[in-house]
Amino acid sequence: MTEALWTIGSGVIGLSVVGLVGGALLQYASKAFKVDGNPLVDSIDALLPQTQCGQCGHPGCKPYAEAIANGEPINRCPPGGQETVDRLANLLGVDSLPLDADETTADQDLVAVIIEEECIGCTKCIQACPVDAIVGAAKLMHTVIVDDCTGCDLCVDPCPVDCIDMVPRPKAPDYWMPDRPEIISSDRFGQIGMQHG
C-alpha cells in the first residue's frame, strides 16, 4: 500500500517539478524572446514596393501591410503590379486575385521631374514627398533626386503652378537586357563539338 502510494506520489511530484521547470522556462522565453510587433506585417511590408503612394487607400506601405494582416484584400497595390499580388498570395497561402487597377496606372516605373524654370519655390511638393526625395528651400528652385524618387506622384497635385511631370524612369546609359531566347539563331552559346575517345 505504502509502496503504491510512494510510486504514485513520486510520479505526481516528479511530473509537477517537470511542469514547473518547463513553465518557468516558457515564462522566461516569452519575456526574453518577445517579438515586438506582428512579424507577419514585416514580411508583407517587405514584399510591397515602398513607393508610399497611398493608392491602396492607406498612408504608406506599412499601414497597408498591417491592413492586409488584418484581412484586407491583397490586390490594391498598383505600383507593385500583379507580381506583388502573386507574391503576397504565396506568402499568405491564399488564392491570388487580379490586380485592382486599370491597365494604365499599373506597373509603370515613373519618376517625378520638376520643370525648374517654372518652379516658384513654394515647398509644397517637399512637404508632400513621403520619402524626402525633393530638395529645395522657400522661394528657391526645388529639384527631385531621381534615384530616390519612388514615382508615387503625391507631389503632382499640391504644385500650384503644375511644374511637375511624371516621366519614365531614366535607364543607365549602359543598361541592357537580353531578349527572351525563344527563337533559336545559329549564334548562341556553347556551339561546339565534343572530343571523341
Binding site: V131, D148, A172, Q191
Partner: protein
C-alpha cells in the same frame, strides 16, 4: 632567378566538358602587328568600367595616350593612336545588344605623338599603384572587364594568374605568354610586392607547353624574389572560370555571393598583368592581342591591334572579305556573342573574333536526360532552372541556384535537345540583378519614409511641448497677476 615549382593539380573539376579545342588554327601562324586602321571607335559607355563621359570634343587633336573617356568607376580610357576626333555620335558597338551607342570616332594621322604618364619609381605604395591602374585604364583583359584596382585589397594572400584559357579557339593569352612573358611576370611581381602577397600561382592548362616553357625561361632570368607556384591543370572546360580556378589551384571554395577577393585571392588574366607592368612604366593600354580565328577566315592568326580598331579591318587582315560573313562571334564559341555590324571597334575585353558556320538544329522538348546537370561545374540542376524561367518563375530559378550560374554554357554544348539553357540563365541573371536592385531601392525608400515619419513626429512633439510650456507660463503669469490684484485689493 625567381623561385618556382611546377605541380600537377591534384583536384578534379566538378562536371565540365572536353570540347574540340581548335587552338592550333591560330597558333600555327605568327602573331603580327596590325597597321593603323583608317578610323578608331571608342564607345563612351561600353568601353569597360561602366558608363562614362567624353573628355574630348569634335575637332580635338589627340596623341597616343591622351585621356578621352572617364568612366563612373574612375577608369580612364585613352586614345590608342594619335589623330583627330572627327565625330562623337551613335555608332555600332561590340556588345551583345548589337545596338548603337554614343562613341568617339578618331581618325589616326600616322604621327607618333605620345602623351604617356610619368613612370612610377620603385618603391611605391598600393594607393599609388591603384591610381596608376585607373589612369592607365587597366581592366580585366580576360573578357569581363572588371576594373582591376577594385580587386586590390590589403590582406590578400595569393595572386592567381589565370592562364588556363580553357575556352576553345582562344589563344590570345597563350600568345601573350609566349611573346610578352617578362611583362606578365614583372607585373605579377610588382603587384605582389606592393600588396605584400606571399604566393603567385599560375594556373595553366596542360595544352600550352610552349607558354609553360616561356614562363620557365622568364622565371629563370627574373631577378625577382617572388615565389611562383605553377599548377598544371587538365585540359577541361571551364577550368579557367575564376571560382573554379581558385578551387583547383588552392582548394578554396569562394562562398556564394562573394568575390574571390573576399577569400584573400586575386585572380588576374596574364594580359592584365602585362598591361600593369607597362602602366608602371607610364604606358596606358592602347593595344591588345586579339585572336582572329575560325574556319571561315582564310589565314587565322593572333594580332596586336589598337583598341578601337573596327572588326571589318581585322577580318580583312586575315585575307577574308567581311561581306562573306553574316556575323562574327566576339569571344569564344562557348561564351561569346554574335556581332553583325563589323564597323564596331574592338574594346579592351575583345579577346577573340571567331568566324565559322555552325548549324544548330531547332530546339526540341527536354527529355530529362540530366546531361546538363552532369557537366555543370557549379553542380546546379540546369533543367530545373530552365523550367522555372520558361514558366516565368524567377524566384524559383533563384532558389535553384541561378545566381551561382557562371554562364559557362557547358550545358548548352551537351544538351541533346539543343535547348539554349545558357541564354535563359543569362537573361534570368540579368532579371535577378534587376530585382535585387529594386529590392535595395525599396528598402532605402522604406528607411527614408520611416525616418521622415519619425522626424515629423518629433517635430510635432516638440511643438506640443513648446505649446504646453507657453500655456503653463501664461497661466502662471495670469495667476501671479490675479494674486497681485487680490493683495492690492
Amino acid at each position: 632567378m625567381a623561385e618556382y615549382r611546377i605541380r600537377h593539380c591534384e583536384r578534379q573539376l566538378e562536371g565540365g566538358i572536353h570540347p574540340e579545342t581548335h587552338k592550333d588554327l591560330s597558333t600555327s601562324a605568327p602573331c603580327v602587328f596590325i597597321d593603323d586602321p583608317k578610323r578608331l571607335v571608342f564607345p563612351i559607355h561600353f568601353s569597360g568600367g561602366g558608363p562614362g563621359e567624353s573628355l574630348v570634343s569634335i575637332g580635338d587633336t589627340v596623341s597616343q595616350g591622351t585621356p578621352i573617356i572617364k568612366c563612373r568607376s574612375g577608369i580612364i580610357h585613352v586614345a590608342s593612336r594619335a589623330g583627330k576626333v572627327i565625330d562623337i555620335t551613335d555608332h555600332a558597338i561590340t556588345h551583345p545588344s548589337n545596338d548603337v551607342s554614343a562613341s568617339i570616332i578618331i581618325e589616326p594621322n600616322g604621327s607618333k605623338d605620345q602623351s604617356y604618364l610619368e613612370p612610377l619609381v620603385w618603391p611605391f605604395d598600393a594607393d599609388t599603384l591603384r591610381d596608376r591602374a585607373i589612369e592607365a585604364g587597366i581592366l580585366g583583359l580576360g573578357g569581363a572587364g572588371f576594373p582591376s584596382f577594385k580587386k586590390w585589397s590589403d590582406g590578400t594572400q595569393t595572386l592567381i594568374i589565370n592562364a588556363a584559357e580553357c575556352e576553345p579557339y582562344l589563344t590570345a593569352d597563350d600568345t601573350l605568354m609566349r611573346i610578352d612573358t617578362h611583362s606578365m611576370i614583372r607585373g605579377a611581381c610588382m603587384l605582389s610586392q606592393t600588396l605584400a602577397i606571399k604566393t603567385i600561382v599560375i594556373g595553366i592548362e596542360d595544352n600550352k607547353p610552349e607558354a609553360l616553357e616561356a614562363i620557365e625561361n622568364a622565371l629563370k632570368e627574373s631577378r625577382s624574389d617572388c615565389f611562383f607556384d605553377i599548377v598544371l591543370l587538365d585540359t577541361k572546360y571551364p577550368s579557367g572560370s575564376a571560382r573554379q580556378l581558385v578551387w583547383l589551384t588552392l582548394g578554396i571554395e569562394v562562398p556564394t555571393g562573394s568575390r574571390s577577393v573576399e577569400s584573400g585571392v586575386i585572380v588576374h588574366n596574364p594580359g592584365t598583368l602585362a598591361a600593369l607592368s607597362r602602366a608602371i612604366d607610364g604606358k596606358p593600354i592602347t593595344d591588345r592581342i586579339v585572336t582572329l580565328t575560325g574556319e571561315a577566315l582564310t589565314t587565322p592568326k593572333n594580332v596586336i591591334a589598337p583598341i578601337g580598331t573596327p572588326i571589318s579591318y581585322l577580318i580583312e587582315a586575315t585575307n577574308t572579305n567581311p561581306a562573306s560573313l553574316a556575323s562574327i562571334t566576339v569571344g569564344g564559341p562557348m561564351m561569346g556573342y554574335p556581332v553583325t555590324d563589323f564597323d564596331a571597334g574592338i574594346t579592351k575585353t575583345t579577346n577573340c573574333l571567331l568566324a565559322r558556320e555552325v548549324e544548330i538544329p531547332p530546339e526540341s522538348p527536354c527529355i530529362r536526360c540530366g546531361a546538363c546537370a552532369t557537366v555543370c561545374p557549379v553542380r546546379l540542376q540546369p533543367q530545373q532552372m530552365v523550367f522555372a524561367l520558361k514558366g516565368g518563375s524567377l524566384d524559383r530559378a533563384i532558389h535553384e541556384g541561378l545566381t551561382d550560374c557562371i554562364e559557362c554554357a557547358a550545358c548548352n554544348a551537351v544538351c541533346p535537345s539543343h535547348i539554349p539553357l545558357a541564354e535563359w540563365f543569362r537573361l534570368g541573371r540579368f532579371e535577378a540583378r534587376e530585382q535585387a536592385n529594386e529590392q535595395r531601392l525599396a528598402t532605402e525608400a522604406r528607411e527614408r519614409f520611416e525616418a521622415r515619419n519619425r522626424r515629423l513626429e518629433r517635430i510635432a512633439q516638440e511643438q506640443e511641448a513648446k505649446r504646453a510650456a507657453r500655456k503653463a507660463k501664461t497661466a502662471d503669469a495670469l495667476e501671479k497677476a490675479r494674486r497681485a490684484r487680490e493683495e492690492s485689493a
